[in-house]
Assembly symmetry: C2
Homo-oligomer: 408 residues x 2
């Protein structure tokens, strides 16, 4: 939860509309002019709002704690964010973002390392084919300038960002609606097509003469050269001039990761944001960061069946509950096993054997331990290995040995 | 975020007041009767609310997924909750709870294990003196009955819960305001005092004749006997009849953990809740759980200076940045070290040596690696151990060995 003014105005027009606002408590309607439109009333009755992303609250944090931090400052953060979007497959009103950012360094080394992180993370998750799309807001600004539409970056980007959803014709239509001059439309429309949008050389020809465009191209060249010399495990890195990213605060490199194995939109994204902390009073700081969309990544892992086979949250051993006295005996064993770091349980009730064994089975528990009066007397348990059905007696030390505890 | 109706009415009157509600998006005021009081308007303009605790949303989850879960079902969960309380030391509007619950088993074994968890967690965090307070709502119900105020458990508990804050005299005053009969006040007032509130025998004398009270006493005796035979590492377990817990949903054992090393209120709590899932359509299920208040525990750790000395998030090695070519060389080393699981960084800019060394110092980085043209030619780095100032050359394999990687 953040104070509303921290979030509002940072994510563009559409972002503002999608921010969940928190109603003030108590008699919030007191003194409110109810003849105003809802959007105005909202500001009078809600002082708090839910995080829309992790980046803006992070910039607020950095500005607030500037005197306690060592710069360049790096952090990672995994937390939920909320967006009042229409829920659908791959789009949630509450979802987890996993962010990594560096604030206080203009070095392109960070851009390179973030691409390495994308590569390593998705490769480790078992993705066999995924694309890291790269673009640069400065290249887009150069493009707007070269098209004779120098102050039009915002308008250009808002429509461009929807290309995947609405297609090139409707992007062009939206550009015209938003007042893009027709000679600019003429220059820009061709870049929307598959052949040219991936061609850095084509764009270089268009914008090489603009100062901002040249800087953007230099940055892109440097990043691509570094990645080339370092090598990546599995990611395809592709320049894509149509990558715009909706968020207002990006100023340099922008990233987006997709997989051609599932049509679900971007799985991760990010970019460089100069001076985002300035709105919170910390000037002349540049930052760069990335964000993984955990829920969508989960959806893809589910869809592609990438979960490991041996993923289990089950305890290793279940002690059968034969009654009060036997349960006391088992509790002592639980205590020793748990001290050795072994997850184990005593079935909580003296239910029928069949029910207790079914529980062990349903949970995927590897061993079932049984102890009646004979075992208690001999200070052992009868241990049944569920996969083989084999049963054998163990003292505590032998059991710890079996379960891989070397020096109990 | 939950649908409002999931949360409202589950936490008592005060709880409802403290739930943060989320404003609907769009034209939320349309059709709203603005002559109504704020509390009524809230229901028309907010369909969502923020979690007040983790237990009620968990009960909703269990009811919803009943067919996919194996019962007794255990889970732990660490997430933020929100309360519109007046913020003060130890009281936050947003804070993290760490919960563990079991749903679907009436066994008191769980109560015992939760006390063991309290004991282990606080001992491991370095607390030397802490108290696990135990009571049972059934004992409180028996007390109300024995005092001739059989339906008064709710009223009795609401005021009792404030004892630490307002003292015995004002609890008695509030009981009378809430309409407790004077003969009941006469029976109950004496239990508020230090000598008798900890005396299970005193309470046994008062309520032994009531059915509900006897059941509560039996449960308490069983739990205390089990804890006694198992032994605890460091927790003081104390029966406390004045422990009431404000939350409406508890029906059996209730817990609270405090430390006498700092006056900050409870650090953890919990209890048994029969049939909480029934409000979500899953009947005849009992649950029991505990919750750690992470932020308050953090406050105590801070206050008592319990953080470990060697707590560091610093990378192990910083590579000095001597320029473009040297940085490329360092990047290859970073790649190898990171593949071996060693956290390391290249200083991102070619800043003055002094500035780069100061960064290493400020971050508490153990080793600084330097490589100029000579080292690059010989495929080594000059490594400076920051604590001793010693400097020596290492090839990659030797460096991995130094950093504890056995078979690079």
């Amino acid at each position: 939860m953040e104070r509303s003014e921290i979030l509002l105005g940072k994510y563009g027009e559409e972002g503002d509309r999608l921010i969940f606002r928190v109603l003030d408590n108590g008699d919030f309607m007191k003194g409110v002019d109810t003849s105003l439109p809802s959007s105005k009333i909202a500001s009078s009755i809600s002082k708090r709002a839910m995080r829309y992303d992790l980046t803006v609250p992070f910039a607020r944090f950095v500005a607030q704690h500037r005197n306690d931090l060592v710069f360049p400052f790096k952090r990672y953060q995994i937390q939920p964010v909320w967006r009042a979007d229409r829920p659908q497959k791959g789009r949630y009103q509450e979802f987890y973002q996993c962010d990594a950012d560096v604030i206080g360094s203009e070095s392109l080394l960070h851009e390179v390392e973030f691409v390495q992180i994308f590569d390593e993370v998705f490769a480790r998750l078992g993705f066999t084919s995924f694309q890291v799309h790269l673009n640069n807001r400065k290249i887009l600004a150069g493009l707007a300038e070269a098209a004779g539409y120098g102050d039009g970056l915002g308008e250009l980007a808002i429509a461009l960002d929807k290309l995947d959803k609405i297609g090139p014709d409707r992007v062009v239509a939206e550009w015209m609606e938003r007042g893009m001059p027709s000679q600019a439309v003429e220059v820009l429309a061709p870049i929307l097509h598959e052949e040219s949008k991936r061609s850095l050389e084509h764009i270089r020809g268009l914008i090489g003469g603009t100062e901002i465009g040249s800087i953007g191209l230099e940055e892109m060249d440097d990043i691509l050269a570094q990645l080339d010399s370092l090598g990546l495990e599995r990611a395809d890195v592709v320049f894509d001039i149509t990558l715009a990213r909706g968020l207002d605060y990006y100023t340099g490199t922008i990233f987006e990761v997709t997989t051609d194995q599932m049509a679900i939109g971007s799985l991760a994204g990010g970019g460089r944001y100069d001076d985002l902390t300035a709105t919170f009073g910390l000037k002349d700081m540049t930052g760069v960061g990335i964000s993984f969309g955990a829920d969508r990544i989960y959806d893809v892992i589910e869809h592609l069946g990438l979960w490991p086979d041996n993923l289990s949250d089950a305890p290793k051993v279940l002690f059968v509950n034969f009654g009060k006295e036997e349960a006391r005996y088992a509790q002592q064993w639980l205590k020793s096993l748990r001290e050795a770091g072994i997850a184990c349980e005593l079935y909580p009730l003296q239910s029928k054997m069949k029910k207790q064994m079914k529980y062990a089975d349903d949970r995927g528990i590897a061993y079932v331990a049984m102890a009646g009066s004979r075992e208690m007397e001999q200070e052992v348990v009868s241990l049944k290995e569920m996969s083989s059905g084999n049963q054998q007696e163990y003292g505590l030390e032998a059991l710890l040995g079996l379960l891989g505890i070397k020096n109990p």
